[in-house]
Amino acid sequence: MSAGAWSLFIAVFLACVVEAVEATTIILAAGTARDWRSALTGMSAALVVLVAIVAALGPAVSALPLRELRLVVGALLLIFGLQWLRKAILRASGRKALHDEENLYRSHLAEAQAAPARRLGSVPDWYAFTLSFKGTLLEGLEVVFIALTFGSNAGDIPLAGLAAGCAVVLVAIVGVAVRAPLARVPENTLKFVVGIMLTAFGMFWGGEGAGAHWPGSDAALLVLAPVIALFAIGLVAVLRRGKQATPAPARESVPATEAG
């Protein structure tokens, strides 16, 4: 595999691991607190919807002219990347609470345990079904978006799909094996790395789509990513220094589907 193919695989794989970990946390909470059958049915229903979306959007995305595709996708990736990087820098500098899967899991669990049970058709617990469905669908949409856009821009959708599939299967296997929140996954570090990659790819493709010619062509990506990383690390250092002696915020409790 070439260096370009490896960088595509790694970027998609890492981004999809982050999304899959978030979806797994929600499904585990729904299954543990409520009803496994309903939670797994909800997850399966969401996967069917995602497959339908991929079947509809995949050929459409591939048929778009490359320059326009790079402009739109580059813009979106750059926006996503900067948002992820912004949050990651705030977290790394102690300005924002760390994204903690164990805490999130406990929060979902308590919420799920408090909700009343309601049977609907063949689904024993509608609450567990919808919680699992929404979590899988929303995080899955991000996986689909990342795989399709990275794959179509790099001209290798199968490789991007393989990377996304590997990430989802790996996280699912670990989730089933431990049946507990995937707290040991260094999620905040992963998000920092993914933010850098999304920003670098977004900048590169967006610039090309808007008519810019990068010095060194594709090799410019190999410079962009480390330079963005150094800049982000520098910003973390500046924010840490300016933080003075204020106590660090408590680990956060956020809605089930919060991105980044």
């Binding site: 813009a75 900067l82 990087l85 967006g206 810019a212 010619h213």
Partner: protein
């Protein structure tokens, strides 16, 4: 129905724009400037890196100012 449409657009806004709308606006302006410069004989690749140097610290400054 109206509520569902509203919820869909709220989801779309949150999905695309996220926490800081200035980043989305800045990226659109940066791409427009890149396009405008690329139509001249001046190289345009430096616009987006320069945008990052301005936009990210500015967004962080706004975020930390409110804490």
């Amino acid at each position: 129905m109206v509520n569902r449409i509203k919820a869909f657009f709220a989801f779309l806004y949150d999905f695309v724009v996220g926490d800081d709308w200035r980043i989305a606006v800045g990226v659109v302006i940066g791409l427009a400037v890149t396009y405008a410069i690329s139509q001249t004989s001046v190289p345009a690749w430096w616009v987006l890196p320069a945008l990052l140097v301005v936009l990210l610290p500015a967004s962080l400054w706004v975020a930390t100012r409110h804490r």
